[in-house]
């Protein structure tokens, strides 16, 4: 009898639909030694596992406000974000810095496969600079 009950609960755990997960993904830009004054990114999920819910600003004071994004990106798995700062060079971030965070709903049992592209990155005065983008899941929410 105990064996039957255990088997039943095990089966229930496997078959029962899992709830969607809410997660936060931090977006980082690494501009190396260059001061970052502007960025424009296109972020999408190759697996279409997520629905974007909202966008949060970054950690640095120059990019603390939420970046500009298209409202149509909400509830979708693709978004373009952009922001710039007119602060002085010494007030701008350089190196790896979190510039934004995405609040998303992840489909049950799914893991997003992010594809992030730097469409434009600029330093003070509008000079184009090279930068790399990376996205990582925030663990301690």
């Amino acid at each position: 009898m105990r064996f039957l009950l255990a088997a039943f609960f095990l089966l229930l755990a496997v078959v029962a639909p899992r709830a969607a997960e809410f997660a936060v993904y931090d977006v980082y830009i690494d501009s190396g030694t260059e001061a970052l004054a502007a960025y424009q990114l296109k972020i999408s999920d190759r697996r279409a596992a997520v629905k974007i819910l909202s966008v949060e600003g970054g950690q640095h004071a120059s990019f603390a406000n939420a970046p500009k994004f298209d409202e149509k990106a909400i509830q979708r798995d693709v978004i373009k974000v952009a922001a710039f700062s007119l602060a002085a060079r010494d007030k701008l971030p350089s190196g790896r810095v979190r510039i934004a965070s995405l609040h998303v709903e992840v489909g049950p049992g799914l893991t997003p496969d992010w594809n992030a592209i730097v469409q434009a990155a600029g330093g003070p005065g509008g000079r184009k600079i090279s930068a790399e983008v990376s996205i990582s899941k925030r663990e301690n929410q």
Binding site: Y39, Q40, D70, F84, L86, A120, G122, G126, K128
Partner: protein, 170 residues
């Protein structure tokens, strides 16, 4: 024979011929309209326009109209104008080429593309915001939102276009 003597009767001409010519000058020849019509028809048949004649018969056209058409003279073009005619194709070609070039140039200059890199992006928005902040608004063709002035609203508009998901190239 002298020129003044040309109206004088020539004794060598036969008398009968002279009389006939005198009668011809005095008499007025009457040519009936039917003869004119027959001549026109014969001429049209001769030039292979029989079908037209048949069509005319089904919808009769006054003979006078046909005679009128036959009396049309070819348009004479003034030699000065004709001289210009040979330059017309060249002038038309230059005009078309100039028009295409103009639109190609203005088309490549995107509204809001301040750094002229062929894309309207966040850097253009930043450049415009910087210039507006410094008060440099003259010489800028960056009224992107078409409100008649260049201000921070245009920078916002450029930014909005840059992140628009439905714009081409996104």
């Amino acid at each position: 024979m002298k020129m003044d003597d040309r109206d004088q009767p020539n004794s060598d001409e036969p008398q009968k011929l002279r009389d006939a010519l005198r009668r011809l000058e005095k008499e007025r020849l009457f040519v009936p309209g039917t003869v004119d019509e027959a001549m026109v028809r014969a001429a049209q048949e001769h030039f292979g326009q029989k079908k037209d004649v048949e069509a005319e018969e089904s919808s009769p056209v006054p003979v006078e109209a046909l005679v009128f058409h036959s009396k049309l003279k070819p348009v004479k073009i003034d030699p000065r104008v004709r001289r210009w005619h040979k330059w017309l194709p060249l002038a038309a070609s230059i005009t078309i080429a100039a028009t295409i070039f103009y639109f190609a140039r203005t088309g490549s200059a995107l509204a809001g593309d301040l750094n002229r890199d062929g894309a309207v992006d966040v850097i253009d928005a930043m450049l415009l915001a910087e210039r507006v902040e410094r008060g440099e608004r003259s010489g800028l063709s960056a009224d992107v939102n078409n409100d008649g002035r260049i201000d921070a609203g245009d920078s916002e508009e450029i930014l909005a276009r840059a992140v628009d998901l439905e714009r081409s190239g996104s």
